[in-house]
């Protein structure tokens, strides 16, 4: 077993009220950890903080903190990151987990919707990564993790705006991983498959490929502790996506996926 080289004791969760990030937060909320949660919806954030404080025995609310911010607004990033650093001191780990599942049909009908989907799920995350990378470089340790998607591995007609954003994010993380490796910082690309979350509520979610957020979250925590490069969650998606990537394009374009 790979040793758990990264301690996860002071963590910033961006997009903390998403189902997957909340499940990660629950797993991390212990009396030994400090969490800083960033989310857009104040009521949802407060409900999450209350829950985590109970789980972590943080009665005075000093170890579990958070702030509201719309992370699609790049101008807000600097202040939020500063606030997180002030709350935690040194940061062991960050997890980028915000995003939307855009309606591809709406994107096909609108340039703005396409660019918006790519901004929320791709560009805005890259902007935050670019902002925090120098601090990790200086610090010389830690782990940066971001939630990509199996959809980023290959463009499909049903969700290629989302896929483009996640694919772009994955490529950026690849380069960042290479850069920060020489500074002792791990960069983890997380690629969940189908997860039963409110984001996917509109799908028929029966079947063996659908995972629960808790299972995905525990995979995320392990991947971050071990400093894995790319983690498919659950692991079966690594095999599925290998096969899907290997299909020749002249054949793939004929598929209705």
């Amino acid at each position: 077993m790979t040793p758990r080289k990264n301690p996860l004791q002071r963590i910033v969760l961006f997009g903390a009220t998403s189902a997957i990030a909340s499940a990660v937060a629950r797993e991390l909320a212990t009396p030994d950890t400090q969490l800083f949660c960033v989310a857009r919806d104040g009521t949802a954030l407060q409900a999450l903080l209350d829950d985590l404080r109970v789980r972590a025995d943080d009665t005075d609310g000093t170890r579990i903190q958070g702030t509201t911010a719309d992370l699609a607004d790049i101008d807000a990033h600097a202040a939020v990151w500063q606030q997180a650093q002030q709350a935690l001191g040194e940061v062991d780990a960050v997890l980028l987990a915000w995003g939307t599942l855009p309606d591809q049909a709406a994107c096909d009908a609108s340039v703005e919707a396409t660019l918006d989907a790519i901004h929320v799920n791709g560009t805005s995350a890259i902007a935050l990564l670019a902002r925090i990378a120098p601090d990790f470089e200086r610090q010389g340790r830690g782990v940066i993790a971001a939630i990509g998607s199996v959809a980023g591995d290959r463009g499909r007609q049903s969700n290629y705006a989302y896929g483009t954003a996640k694919g772009m994010l994955a490529t950026y993380l690849q380069g960042l991983r290479n850069r920060l490796f020489f500074h002792g910082v791990d960069v983890v690309t997380l690629k969940p498959g189908f997860v039963r979350t409110p984001m996917t509520a509109g799908f028929n979610r029966a079947g063996a490929l659908w995972a629960e957020p808790e299972a995905v979250a525990s995979g995320i925590v392990k991947a971050m502790q071990r400093g894995r490069e790319v983690a498919y969650l659950p692991w079966i998606w690594r095999i599925i996506m290998t096969v899907i990537r290997l299909l020749p394009e002249y054949l793939f374009k004929r598929l209705k996926l």
Binding site: T43, A47, D50, D51, V54, R55, A201
Partner: protein, 432 residues
């Protein structure tokens, strides 16, 4: 398709919506609505055919906990399993637990569930200090037994019909560890059971009996079994470690595995299991939740599903009534391998539709065998009604409407509290 635990009835819903956040307006789906937690009730109290189900398992956040008093406030979709994992290391335990920990707080309130400690602790609702109730007209009621006694009595045991229960405030009970002290003893007849029970109930907070409902005891009548009693262990820490067994019934067998042959064999073997007359330490999970160790145990009955028949008989007729029920079941040959007998305490239940009441409660499982099962239930119904008893709505898929109305005489007063946009398959069935 969402089904209840016994997989009867099989129904379709017009919409099924996961609720992810409290404090939000009810979704705009076809009316009427019904909250659905973990689906461990049997029958149709948790189903709403042709209408909408609101899945509450995502409403599972803690809100506040006071480690000094053991008062916990949480969203109603929190499971007892999650609650137990949180509370035990902090020295607290849910004051009442049913036979499975896979139920939500909201479900425990809505069915006013009872446990093996009813004779001392009462039912779940007795420990609820308050709850938040969202009504379809947009009102959000903070309900406590003191401030809104009517709403409280309607919502505890109210089968989810008074609105959406969003949060529950619960008084937990102190424990020293996850372990219990338990003993068990065979009895060869119901007379022996009643003796044992009377002697044990004062000193033992948890008691229950398993009955062999196929093989006669020493007096030639059905009614032999095993009596078990337990209390929370008074040890700060138990040296032995416990690992939860993880077995599962992986798929539906083509036929029910429960039949006359397997039942007779099972009952013989179960009766012969080693008993421990002197108390010994046992982890709370196998003692309180034996069936939780086998995931999907309901699959042993096959695709057709099964019924649970749980009745309560008032004290005056309990002894004779239980014997008559067991004789009738034995004569039908449709025995159950889960026959559980327990006496309720005398504390008046907190809910208008609460099932627990003074007397004895008998619970049995029966595979679905069509007409034969119906005929047996009709005979059992007659005995229960003769004794002035009632059936447990949380376990029911078939009781005739008049039987519900006589068993739950406050149902008409209760109906005034029902949210006009909430209903269930059960409610429509028994009030039609």
């Amino acid at each position: 398709m969402t089904a209840s635990w016994n997989r009867i009835p099989r129904v379709e819903h017009a919409a099924e919506v996961p609720l992810a956040r409290r404090g939000r307006a009810l979704p705009e789906t076809p009316r009427p609505l019904l909250a659905h937690g973990l689906g461990r009730s049997y029958g149709d109290v948790c189903l709403n055919p042709g209408a909408s189900l609101l899945h509450t398992s995502g409403l599972d956040r803690f809100i506040a906990f006071d480690p000094a008093t053991g008062i916990l406030r949480a969203e109603a979709g929190l499971s007892l399993d999650a609650l137990l994992r949180f509370a035990i290391p902090r020295g607290w335990f849910p004051p009442v637990v049913p036979g499975t920990r896979c139920v939500t707080l909201g479900g425990a309130v809505a069915n006013d569930v009872h446990g093996k400690n009813h004779h001392q602790a009462g039912s779940f609702g007795d420990h609820v200090l308050g709850l938040t109730l969202r009504r379809s007209d947009g009102q959000v009621l903070e309900v406590t037994p003191e401030e809104r006694p009517g709403w409280f009595a309607a919502t505890v045991g109210g089968l989810g019909l008074t609105g959406l229960i969003e949060t529950v405030t619960l008084q937990l009970a102190p424990v020293r560890s996850a372990w219990m002290h338990a003993w068990s003893q065979r009895f060869t007849s119901l007379d022996e059971f009643w003796d044992l029970n009377t002697r044990s109930e004062r000193d033992w907070p948890y008691t229950v009996a398993w009955i062999d409902c196929l093989n006669p005891g020493r007096d030639g009548r059905v009614g032999r079994g095993i009596y078990s009693a337990a209390r929370h262990a008074n040890l700060a820490r138990h040296s032995a470690t416990w690992r939860e067994p993880r077995r599962s019934i992986p798929l539906d067998p083509p036929l029910s595995l429960v039949n006359r042959l397997t039942l007779r064999a099972f009952n013989h073997l179960y009766y012969r299991q080693p008993v421990h007359a002197t108390p010994r330490a046992i982890h709370h999970q196998p003692w309180l939740f034996p069936l939780d160790a086998i995931r999907h145990w309901n699959r042993i009955y096959g695709h057709k599903g099964f019924y649970q028949y749980q009745c309560v008989l008032p004290p005056a007729d309990a002894k004779e009534g239980v014997q008559t029920l067991l004789d009738t079941i034995a004569a039908s040959g449709q025995g159950s391998f889960l026959a559980v007998l327990k006496t309720f305490g005398t504390r008046p239940a907190p809910g208008m539709l609460s099932f627990p009441r003074p007397g004895a409660t008998l619970a049995l499982d029966f595979p679905e065998k069509g007409r034969a099962t119906e005929r047996l239930f009709a005979r059992l119904d007659a005995i229960v009604q003769e004794c002035g008893g009632a059936l447990y709505p949380a376990k029911d898929a078939r009781m005739p409407a008049p039987m519900f109305r006589t068993g739950f005489p406050r149902w008409e007063a209760f109906a005034d509290y029902v949210d006009p946009e909430f209903s269930s398959g059960f409610w429509r069935r028994v009030t039609a």
